[in-house]
Point group: C2
Chain length 468, copies 2
């Protein structure tokens, strides 16, 4: 909603709030109060977890000096600005000196946090996005996936070729009808419009505070399917925020538990629920009615093929469910080597293209479709990428646990009733907020630590037609 | 934009920010720094004014204890909530105990501030809304107006009866066309959409920060005239904010100078400029084209009669330019007596109705259309009402000074060119921000202190057809 000329002032305001927060967290008084709280014998589990969460944030803040934070913020801003032009020009060399400067600060940050937190360099950065998750938890899982994917992709493409062709529904699809359709499904899934809105923005997001959750989408009047699925994805994020416990609102322990779990909730709805045969059986006639669509393009079977189409490509954000992990694992390997000093920024383009060729068998025509495509590294978000695929695997594992615990969940979805699923998620995921670290929460909710098996089983079912 | 369920959380967030601001302002360190700054010999005029503004805010904050502010905030919230129902029920008695409680806190606040600031009780409250303006500056002006208005109103109604009847343009007027028309005029007046937006809300307002100004309106598809004039009013507020000096953004001296001057800028555009024959000569064909209107309803003369129609009524916010000051002066007299202890809250309905009968010759059918109509007293905004009529008089005085200084201003308006006016305002009003207190700024801009004469001359010209 912000007019472009408001950006500088807004960024000053946010910097001011961040500085206030930093100073409050790092104040000696805060440290004393935390020590006092930690020594109090009769804290509840929630109170103790709250003290842990505040201490974690404090330790992370204390690791960096105010001067360093300022230098880092500045390096991020500069690098990101140059990157926007470099991406447009497919000119990695133009951004390289700025990326090198930023990388050296990121390494410094990793060292400082690693020392304070007693973690490895990579985990020290990951910990800010996903507290408690360590790379040792998923290194083997990623290895496993990386071995599995190339062969599986071949099988999936073969299976796809044996199926009927996808028929794309023909538009135009008026924006107001797309919006009505999206809000209708949001309501059905459980989104509370008394505590949230759906708006339009260039880059879709879910933001705000639990009592006021804003999600956005962008509409293409020639194709409603992509925007609609985006809305359902953001609705998954929103339902998580809306389901956080009222009693702990605005306390650190009451916040959502990290980016992996957040992504698991959006992907649970987008990938597990809303691309399922059950959901599309319920949704297909509603979609057809919304746009007065008729014929085979509007059948649940066709929409299901459309929503599970596999096609290797260069761009992560456009990737399908099968090839997406390849993009993430590639980035994880590279950023880990970069952070740990086993590789330099100048080597990124060659390493990127080799890795993509190895996993997906394709090579980008230029760095624009390669190592310049994502904002993350150029904006200072190092250690973030694994959370996408961790989220996808957790989504499969959590949905599997939910269906096993409540056999009514899937049949209810086919009838457009999402309450059994939402009730289970409220109780086993959302309601815990940040009471546990991610691995413990996942194990409580699903009875086992993170594994790739459920995700692989899900892929085999959807893309090879094998029974679950 | 906020969904209703977000209100509690938002209000907690604002309270937290207010507390942070209060603590920073009242900190001993802030006092020491201000003393140090005041003793610095080589401050520029702007720097010295900035120190004065910070000191004024600090003195106002220091006058009240944190406990008192909390009690007052709570009393306001309760009283306002009960008032909403009491107004709907036309039941003054229902809200009376809460209003009495709030009034006693307001009196306490006035005493505390009066002592710290060395002002009278009423002026101590007014000072928060309009720094530097004292009731002694306008008591005589209000007396003058109060004597003038009853007879003038009779003359204006007589004159109006001698004119052709108003013909209302017939709708429907589609909302998107109303919005296009409004944004077109906003651009013409000088509103910069790179630093602002026009949106929809139940109660029109202008808010935000100088680099990101949001104005709102509400649309009625049976009548575009009221929403359009509302947009032009808010545009006046917005142009003031947008014209504040860049060099002092986010410093207290860089803020707009109080509510009277702010209202003078909105009323200058709404009342002086956009209801003028010159503006309507330019705007009438644009309005007609926007709605494909034809015939005598769309002539500049008819629209001018429509936009200067006089009709005494009970409701302040619906009042025309002639009767509006009567509503304000009535409220000023009553709130002053209440604050100074010369009257009690229980006496409000009787005193209200007597005063309205005396000034406008009408008596409201119930307290809903009488003393329950405005939120101000029930929400704790005591000492605010005079700023509306001070703004109206300043608008007349400032516009008169501008036209005298730049004879091209009026002819340019008739051609849809507002730049000469805006340039003059930027230089003589907007660009000063809070460098001077209101009376000094007005005198610098217009060459004389506030008087009622220019406003009365304006009324005589518009409503009796007398030459300026």
């Amino acid at each position: 909603m912000m007019p472009p000329g408001g950006a500088d002032a807004r960024s000053d305001q946010l910097a001011e709030l961040n500085a206030l927060r930093h100073n409050m967290l790092c104040a000696t008084e805060t440290g004393d109060l935390l020590n006092q709280a930690a020594d109090t014998p009769d804290l509840s589990d929630w109170q103790r977890a709250n003290v842990r969460e505040i201490s974690r944030r404090r330790a992370s803040s204390m690791a960096l000096s105010e001067d360093f934070v300022l230098a880092r913020t500045k390096a991020c801003n500069t690098c990101e600005t140059v990157w926007r032009q470099a991406r447009a020009d497919a000119d990695f060399k133009a951004v390289l000196p700025h990326l090198e400067n930023l990388l050296s600060l990121v390494r410094e940050e990793a060292e400082a946090k690693a020392e304070v937190l007693g973690l490895g360099l990579y985990d020290a950065l990951l910990n800010d996005y996903d507290p408690g998750t360590r790379s040792e938890h998923f290194d083997q899982v990623f290895d496993d996936l990386e071995t599995f994917l190339p062969e599986f992709l071949g099988q999936a493409l073969e299976h796809q070729a044996s199926q009927a062709n996808v028929i794309r529904p023909q538009g135009p699809f008026p924006v107001d009808k797309q919006k009505d359709l999206g809000t209708g499904f949001m309501k059905a899934l459980g989104f509370d419009f008394d505590h949230g809105r759906l708006d339009v923005s260039l880059h879709p997001f879910c933001g705000g505070f639990s009592d006021d959750i804003r999600i956005t989408t962008r509409y293409d009047d020639a194709d409603f399917t992509s925007s609609l699925m985006g809305v359902l994805h953001e609705t998954g994020h929103a339902l998580y925020e809306m389901g956080l416990p009222q009693d702990w609102r605005s306390q650190p322990v009451g916040d959502a538990r990290g980016m992996s779990l957040h992504e698991s909730q959006s992907l649970l709805f987008e990938m597990q629920v809303c691309r399922s045969q059950e959901f599309l059986t319920y949704a297909a006639p509603i979609m057809a009615e919304a746009f007065e669509g008729q014929g085979p393009a509007w059948s649940a079977d066709n929409l299901s093929r459309l929503y599970s189409h596999v096609e290797p490509g260069f761009i992560r954000v456009d990737a399908d469910e099968v090839t997406y992990p390849a993009h993430v694992i590639l980035r994880y390997r590279l950023e880990r080597a970069l952070i740990e000093g086993d590789m330099e920024a100048a080597d990124i383009p060659t390493a990127w293209n080799e890795a993509l060729q190895r996993i997906l068998g394709i090579t980008p025509p230029s760095d624009r479709e390669g190592c310049l495509q994502d904002i993350h590294w150029y904006d200072g978000a190092w250690g973030y990428f694994p959370t996408y695929t961790l989220g996808a695997m957790m989504a499969a594992q959590i949905f599997d646990a939910a269906r096993t615990a409540e056999p009514d969940i899937l049949p209810s979805i086919a009838r457009g009733n999402f309450q059994p699923l939402l009730n289970w998620l409220r109780k086993n995921v959302h309601g815990y907020a940040s009471k546990f670290e991610t691995p413990e929460l996942l194990e409580k909710a699903t009875g086992r630590p993170l594994d790739a098996e459920t995700f692989k089983t899900h892929l085999k079912s959807r893309y090879l037609g094998r029974p679950l």
